[in-house]
């Protein structure tokens, strides 16, 4: 999984929570104690808001931090590969170099 997908997940959770907050979800969380004066829509809104809040506070930061860590690990791995020298380069590159040094068919 790429780091950007984790970051996108974090952003999605933040946006979902923001949207539910703007829709008045915080005022409907009384459903958690069985106390709310609204209708079935308020019940759904309150439950969704509570779930989105916990996801925003607990999961979104973990995804974002995880993305940073994954990116750092990928960069460290790339640097380590570069320092390992030509023998560590891709086999395709070796074959191209070999092809350049070999005489072309028909050439004198």
């Amino acid at each position: 999984m790429r780091a950007r997908w984790l970051l996108a997940g974090a952003l999605l959770l933040a946006l979902a929570h923001g949207a539910l907050h703007l829709a008045g979800g915080r005022g409907a969380v009384g459903v958690l104690s069985g106390t709310w004066g609204g209708d079935g829509l308020d019940l759904l809104l309150g439950a969704a808001y509570a779930a989105s809040w916990l996801a925003f506070v607990l999961c979104a930061p973990v995804l974002a931090l995880g993305a940073v860590l994954l990116h750092l690990v990928a960069r460290l791995a790339a640097r380590a590969a570069a320092r390992a020298g030509p023998s560590a380069r891709r086999p395709g590159l070796r074959r191209r170099r070999g092809a350049l040094s070999a005489p072309r068919a028909g050439a004198r």
Partner: protein, 393 residues
């Protein structure tokens, strides 16, 4: 690292490290204000809660919007919300007598309204509908839930400032409660037909001690006999905790329950302090859990997997975290002067109870007025119980 399993393992490891980094940061960010831990003067959180509770009693429209949905859910909660608010106001008035006048006016308004409703509609106004489905075992057919809490409200008022308007009602109610308890085979009285609740019986005993402190009577012998009977007949053999409900004859109905035991132990502090502290310690051991600085309470110990009821509130699966039990655990932590447990529970409140402040004050949006009143009482705990313990013989 090019294979799919390898990339998945790396991603999982990064997420695990991220979790281990984030949770302590979150715990630190939600660290409670030290002034909110129990002191003699209400801290900022208690003051904001108090402001909202007072505003709701002084503004009929606000009160209707706060109480309406709660009454529809459970009429007991309206009654208990009054009791806890009166006890909170008593705490605040005793801690700061110079500010007592406004608090006394609200206490008097609550008492007058509650007694009026009882006179007009009977005890059933404050009980769940199943109170009418069968006859009470006791010929008096009274509910100790109603009598005990009304007695506590009257006694708390008298302890702040005696007022002969309520003196006769205090003495009469104390006599009723004492007679109800003495009549039962296990010195307990029903709250519902053939249902005795430890919450209500310990509340009634504490109310009698409060009445003793206010009026000079002495019900200490009844308290001692009740505790002796409870040790023998009303304790869960597996955990040592008081069971939550039992029949009039003393047959256990429900085991030890988080939304009961913390309150019962708090009540017993002014009846038999040693027994109360044993119960608080057992409740902490069997029902309280903590992780990364966040605390919560279970409704049932693992040895008694009982059903949740309307007082349990929502329960978070896997953790077994009960909103009702956790709310009363806050009172247990205050009563035990356990600042670490209180701080952990306050972090959980900030994480999961949606504290919301508006022009009226603070409320927990995930809860209701009775939950806020319990919370307020827990955060102001001390002065009333000190007066009861010091004044009762």
């Amino acid at each position: 690292m090019s294979t799919l399993p390898a990339r998945a393992a790396l991603t999982a490891a990064c997420l695990l490290v991220a979790t281990l980094l984030w949770l302590p940061i979150l715990s630190l960010a939600l660290r409670p204000d030290p002034r909110d831990l129990v002191t003699r003067a209400p801290g900022p959180r208690a003051s904001a809660l108090l402001a909202r509770q007072l505003a709701a009693w002084e503004d009929p429209a606000l009160r209707a919007s706060d109480l309406g949905p709660m009454l529809d859910a459970n009429p007991e909660w309206d009654f208990m919300g009054r009791t806890y608010l009166v006890m909170s106001l008593a705490n605040v008035a005793l801690a700061d007598p110079a500010q007592a006048q406004r608090h006394l006016a609200v206490i008097d308004a609550i008492l007058e309204d509650t007694q009026r409703l009882e006179a007009e509609r009977g005890k059933e106004r404050f009980l769940l509908p199943y109170a009418r489905r069968a006859p009470f075992r006791s010929p008096q057919a009274r509910s100790l839930f109603v009598d005990g809490e009304l007695l506590m409200m009257l006694a708390a008022r008298a302890l702040v400032r005696p007022d002969e308007r309520h003196g006769a009602a205090l003495r009469e109610r104390a006599a009723i409660v004492a007679a109800s308890l003495g009549e039962g085979p296990v010195l307990s009285a029903e709250s519902y037909p053939d249902e005795c609740w430890t919450f209500c019986n310990t509340f009634a005993l504490a109310a009698l001690r409060a009445a003793d402190a206010a009026s000079g009577s002495d019900h200490s012998a009844l308290g001692r006999r009740w505790v002796a009977t409870a040790r023998e007949r009303l304790v869960d053999p597996r955990t040592g905790m008081l069971v939550s409900s039992y029949t009039w004859d003393g047959e256990h109905l429900d085991g030890p329950e988080g939304s009961s035991i913390f309150m019962a132990a708090h009540n017993l502090l002014v009846v038999d302090e040693a027994f109360a502290r044993e119960q608080l310690a057992l409740a902490r051991r069997h029902l309280y859990r903590e992780a990364m600085g966040f605390g919560w309470a279970r409704e049932w110990p693992s040895s008694w997997p009982g059903p949740d009821d309307v007082d349990s509130g929502p329960t978070i699966p896997l953790l077994g975290a009960s909103a009702g039990a956790s709310g009363l655990a806050i009172l247990g932590a205050s009563a035990a002067r356990d600042d670490a447990m209180l701080a952990s529970l306050l972090r959980s409140v900030d994480l999961a109870a949606f504290p919301t402040e508006d022009e009226h004050g603070l409320r927990l949006a995930a809860g209701n007025q009775v939950g806020d009143a319990v919370f307020l009482y827990a955060l102001t705990y001390g002065p009333l119980w000190e007066r009861v313990a010091g004044g009762a013989s």
